[in-house]
């Protein structure tokens, strides 16, 4: 194994990914990630010093349209999907104070 993932790294990635892993899951994730990163390190065999990165297959640019409502009021259907609701709004845990 060339790549070693520390407990700190797994904890940090868990924060970024907003995932809470059990002890067993963490060990598994470390092993999987080390294996994948070793495999991905193959890309270092390629000289890309003069190569531009490609994020899309084609040239992409922002597309603008007029901000006009075309789909009517979907609030009832949208609210029906909410895990918890109150007074026509989505109920979420307190965020401040």
């Amino acid at each position: 194994m060339a790549n070693m993932i520390s407990d700190e790294t797994i904890a940090y990635v868990g924060i970024l990914a907003k995932l809470e892993l059990s002890g067993e899951e963490k060990e598994r994730a470390k092993k999987d990630m080390e294996e994948m990163l070793d495999y991905m390190d193959q890309l270092n065999e390629l000289d890309t010093s003069d190569t531009e990165p490609m994020s899309h297959a084609f040239f992409m640019q922002n597309v603008f349209r007029k901000d006009v409502v075309t789909n009517g009021d979907g609030s009832k259907d949208t609210l029906a999907n909410a895990p918890e609701k109150k007074d026509g709004g989505i109920k979420a845990p307190k965020t401040i104070g």
Partner: protein
């Protein structure tokens, strides 16, 4: 022959000349689902009452002349990561177990406008992450040719449903081979269109720069007809491309005379199963006999496609799946202390192992300190891979090779060794990285009786060339077989 044995276009004709009604047709497929889905587990949701209601409505529209296209009245199935208004769309995940979309995906809307009747939503790997359809919250789909084997994935339910005649055609999505590979494993035909051809509006995003919706059917003609309907420029998808050459059925010509077909040497390395190799090369010989110029060439950089793909796909997935936080829709955990704990617990309980694995990896390759080494490096590799294809398509009309290195593996043999599963995507992922169109067509079976698929790859916007080559091969006639005709499923 039972109604379910006909192709989509044949059924459309029968409905048009009033030989059968829309309702009779839908009922025949609903009965097939009732009989065979306990074996294949292709469907997650089927609402029989709604299907028959819709069939009656479509019949009225056919009768009054407002619907007259080739797919009017024809039933279909749709992969469960494609939104359907008011019909549960789970993405194969506990996270969206109760999710009812408030709108319908553009591709499905196009088909509904053409008169297709939705039978139900098909099984898939959770969030389309997997190559076997075993990573589904609703249990693994099983291959109609042998129920102890996987269907492939992630559009495994959509492909198994077509193979087992539970629907005449279906929609799948393809991020790294998810239409073509299960099509190969289930002995059906599937197309991944050029990026931007089919609107992604309403497709639950996995890797946004790679995802495309495409058709799966019994043959090339059906696929071309469905692709013609679902392709459209859509303001609601900023990556949608305005094309004028969407008359794909005009390419259904039994003529490959003079067509230049290249076979990449690197696709036939040691990792390829000998029986798959033989069947694909035999198919290439058939195209040669029919007048195509077939030759070997070096594509180059083939082994770098899978690592580059997994960096990019996981990075995009980690960003796309950040929206599943238990707030507005989807699963929310029962007990928590504060907002952040609610986010973390909901996501950890709502996502399965493979999804978490890819979100973790994606978050890592995008994190500061590793972004340049992994993510940026993969994007640069993507440029190099595209250049290799550009060089090839300056010479060849079509690239021919296997769709997958083997036939369908046995159930339970893939998820424990994810690296092995990822390597199975070697022939399909580069097509997504470069935005190209690809088709998988059945070209034989192995000694275990499992189907083998041949992949034809075209340059961007050249679907017609791969459709023409695939159609000409299909007309040679030996490989149109069904698991029902072979007695693999009753």
């Amino acid at each position: 022959m039972s109604l379910t044995g006909f192709t989509a276009l044949e059924l459309g004709k029968k409905i048009k000349v009033r030989e059968v009604s829309v309702k009779e047709t839908a009922a025949a497929f609903l009965a097939a689902i009732r009989n065979r889905d306990q074996t294949t587990n292709s469907f997650i949701t089927v609402d029989e009452e709604q299907v028959l209601k819709r069939a009656e409505l479509v019949q009225t529209q056919i009768d009054n002349g407002s619907l007259c296209g080739p797919l009017a009245g024809v039933p279909m199935a749709v992969k469960d990561n494609i939104c359907t208004k008011g019909i549960k769309t789970t993405c194969g995940s506990k996270m969206l177990d109760q999710f009812l979309p408030t709108y319908t995906a553009e591709a499905v809307r196009n088909l509904e406008c053409a008169g297709a009747v939705l039978l139900g939503k098909t099984n898939m790997d959770e969030f389309a992450m997997g190559s076997t359809t075993e990573a589904s919250y609703y249990g693994a789909a099983r291959n109609p040719w042998n129920e102890r084997h996987v269907t492939g994935g992630s559009s495994g339910g959509s492909c198994a449903a077509v193979a087992a005649e539970e629907c005449p055609f279906s929609l799948g999505s393809d991020t790294g081979g998810s239409i073509r590979q299960p099509s190969s494993f289930c002995g059906v035909t599937g197309i991944k269109p050029t990026y931007g051809t089919v609107s992604r509006y309403g497709l639950i995003a996995y890797g946004s720069s790679l995802d495309q919706i495409g058709p799966i059917a019994k043959n090339v003609s059906d696929c071309a007809a469905v692709l013609e309907v679902i392709s459209s420029w859509d303001q609601k998808d900023s990556t949608s491309i305005q094309r004028r050459d969407l008359d794909f059925t005009s390419a259904l010509l039994d003529d490959v005379a003079g067509m230049k077909i290249g076979i990449p040497r690197d696709y036939f390395d040691d990792g390829l199963d000998a029986e798959v190799r033989a069947a694909v090369l035999e198919a290439a010989d058939i195209l040669k006999e029919r007048g195509a110029q077939v030759e070997w060439f070096d594509l180059g950089l083939v082994k770098y496609a899978v690592p580059a793909y997994y960096v990019i796909a996981c990075a995009e997935a980690s960003s796309n799946l950040a929206r599943f936080d238990g707030v507005k829709y989807g699963y929310r955990t029962g007990e928590y202390e504060g907002l952040h704990h609610m986010y973390k617990k909901s996501r950890s309980e709502g996502f399965g192992l493979e999804v978490k694995r890819r979100i973790m990896l994606g978050s890592f390759v995008l994190s500061s300190g590793y972004y340049d080494a992994y993510y940026l490096k993969a994007l640069k590799t993507r440029t190099l891979l595209k250049q290799e294809f550009d060089k090839a398509f300056a010479i060849y009309d079509v690239i021919l090779g296997p769709t997958a290195p083997s036939t369908a593996p046995a159930l339970g043999s893939s998820l424990e060794d994810p690296m092995k599963m990822y390597l199975g995507d070697i022939y399909t992922v580069s097509v997504n990285l470069a935005g190209l169109p690809g088709i998988s067509v059945p070209c034989g079976t192995d000694s275990k009786g499992l189907p083998i698929g041949m992949q034809l790859i075209g340059d961007c916007f050249q679907e017609k060339k791969i459709i023409r080559a695939a159609y000409a091969f299909e007309q040679s006639g030996t490989y149109r077989r069904s698991p029902l005709a072979c007695g693999a499923i009753e």
